[in-house]
Symmetry: C2
Subunit: 393 residues, 2 copies
């Protein structure tokens, strides 16, 4: 097969709010090759990645991605590997490259899976998929009382694990943060797996993170996620050395296998969280999963958007029986819900998440349902329209 | 002062060639505040960074840069620091952020320097500037004979140091690479400082780099630059352990202080090469220079474009007397030459480069001269023109 077309569908709510909810917009990618279709999604600022796709060449290591991808042969996983190497070389000097490519790469796996009638996780090398325990991913409330309610709601909905993140956490006093963490634990109950996400709030300041550890230890939190930005390896290492029973989690911002590897090797994290829509797709995510196994730490998906993103993010660790936690977005926007026509990744009687057994990434977008959210983009350079967004009929 | 306006001028040659020459286009940035003007340049794919500047918000950590920058107070260096922190938080989930911000940040230093009538290096904390020994930066020839001619030309032009990079190096046999390196040494003469740039050609494959070391040692090369991509820290460390008299150089791709720090701490490089137009501007570059001093390694600028980029890139290590090498672009395009109306960073009787003592970054663009290269960009999302490029009158 040859890649005949790549279409980006930029979807967005009519009003984007200034909150940490990544499901307010989406960059959906469709690839066609010899009549076959594949779908993927990049977790990115859509217009920046569209520009990365179509921009005029700057020099030999700074080319538009479409020149590298269109027309490529795509018959088996080795082709995806070859195309990835070419994209990274041609886009070496554009920081956005892997970020943009993620959705394209996922769509290639989806297309190959549909063609070969295999779920993507099999193409990645796993024989079977194991159920995952979803954790409800939610924002901290504005008050401890709201956080408590969130915890109760997660428990009432049957979640055995919940993550609280962003919001006021880390921005007020140690005592206020403590109240939020204890409220979360109270709402979730003593049995639930409690996870806390600081959302990089302390940047690289270990002294800000350290006094928060006691409350996390006392409430038996499983992990402290992203106390720092993902590049602050020394800070991760220093807090990991004193965090006791609370493991460090990080990696969602990784834009390459290497960034995740550095957090594992030099940051001493215990959970590596990978967003397939940022790191460059399924293959680098699988590479991280293999590395996590080799290093004795745990792989977890990062997903805060759609069910398509969730299904893609499950594939790279589907076959790892003992890597059981799975981020499950519970506050997705109406648009994110519409993207799959309300369909969700399947769950079993225990509430565990099942990796879809359908070919490819196993979820399909409902283009008609998201048509109202489609953004019409046109980019002109001099007298030429270099980009016009695809339409939905 | 308040930042009143930020204009991007996207300049490009009529034909961009598929070669490693970054001076074929440019993203020039102009900032105004209370009647003062400052100039900077990002070394980026211009359209991608323009999109990063103006895109619709995705969520709270993925905002358009213009919303964060416009209207900010800019009275002293602490304001630049504060604005940088805000830009990085608001653009956390866009990989392109630091890359785009570089030109804006440089323009802020230039504006402050002009306002305060101080060269930027003084605002960065240096008392005085020391001359730098320029090395001629050129591509390897297609044949060893062409490489030899390049070396001779550099010597004839008075260069005491030269760097040969990219082209065929690393793509053919070990013997062919050896011939090129010996030809470079022959052309340059026994006294010249010989530098070799592999341009990331071996990605992360130490076994490809290792057999090239002998020729570099025999020709007394000072450094081997970028045998691998900047994130392949383990590969850098492994080759540094066996490279003997040849030091490793890298860091030009660093898009943050941290990436450079990791190459120093974990990659064991001996020379850290920083492009102010990529790493996010002058302040993170100065932070790397301070770190290099603390770690006993050498800071070098990376510059392969214009004299404005060169002058900016000198500021962060202007005051380091013993960090003497300076990359000096000798194959810049006609557009890059026109950008400063043919003016260059000054040199003394020895041919050494002098950091300009004029206020700010000390070089001024000639807008009239580059008007023929100005690219007209328009971006529409739905019915709104969200970006229209500035004109030159």
């Amino acid at each position: 097969m040859k890649i005949d077309s790549v279409d980006f569908f930029y979807l967005a709510l009519p009003e984007i709010q200034n909150i940490g909810d990544g499901s307010q917009d989406s960059l959906l990618v469709r690839i066609t090759a010899d009549g076959h279709v594949g779908w993927g999604e990049s977790e990115t600022a859509p217009l920046v990645s569209i520009a990365n796709w179509c921009h005029p060449m700057s020099h030999s290591a700074c080319k538009p991605m479409r020149d590298t991808v269109l027309g490529q042969t795509l018959d088996d996983p080795a082709d995806i590997d070859r195309i990835t190497v070419a994209v990274q070389a041609d886009g070496l000097d554009t920081a956005q490259t892997d970020h943009t490519f993620a959705g394209v790469e996922i769509a290639m796996w989806d297309l190959l899976g549909r063609k070969l009638e295999e779920p993507a996780y099999r193409l990645l090398g796993y024989d079977r998929a194991y159920p995952k325990t979803p954790y409800a991913s939610m924002l901290f409330g504005d008050t401890p009382q709201e956080t408590l309610e969130g915890g109760k709601r997660a428990r009432a909905e049957g979640y055995r694990a919940a993550k609280f993140g962003w919001g006021p956490y880390g921005r007020g006093t140690v005592e206020e943060d403590r109240d939020h963490v204890f409220a979360a634990r109270e709402g979730l109950g003593t049995e639930g797996i409690l996870l806390v996400d600081a959302g990089t709030v302390w940047v690289d300041d270990v002294a800000m993170a350290e006094p928060r550890l006691a409350a996390l230890q006392e409430t038996d939190a499983t992990w402290l996620e992203e106390p720092f930005i993902g590049q602050a390896l020394t800070a991760y290492r220093d807090i990991a050395a004193i965090s006791g029973s609370v493991k460090l989690a990080g990696g969602e911002g990784a834009k390459s296998f290497y960034e995740a590897q550095h957090l594992i090797d030099y940051g001493n994290i215990g959970f590596v969280q990978i967003d397939t829509g940022r790191i460059g797709g399924l293959a680098p995510s699988k590479q991280v999963a293999d590395y996590a196994v080799a290093k004795g730490i745990t792989f977890v998906n990062h997903t805060f958007t759609t069910q398509i993103a969730l299904s893609a993010s499950l594939q790279p660790f589907a076959g790892l029986e003992h890597h059981t936690l799975c981020e499950f977005p519970v506050q997705s926007s109406e648009m994110a819900v519409a993207l799959t026509g309300g369909a969700t990744v399947p769950r079993d009687a225990n509430g565990d998440v099942l990796v879809p057994e359908a070919p490819g990434i196993g979820m399909e977008p409902d283009l008609t349902a998201v048509k109202p959210y489609l953004q019409d983009v046109k980019i002109r350079v001099n007298d030429e329209e270099i980009y016009r967004s695809s339409t939905i009929n």
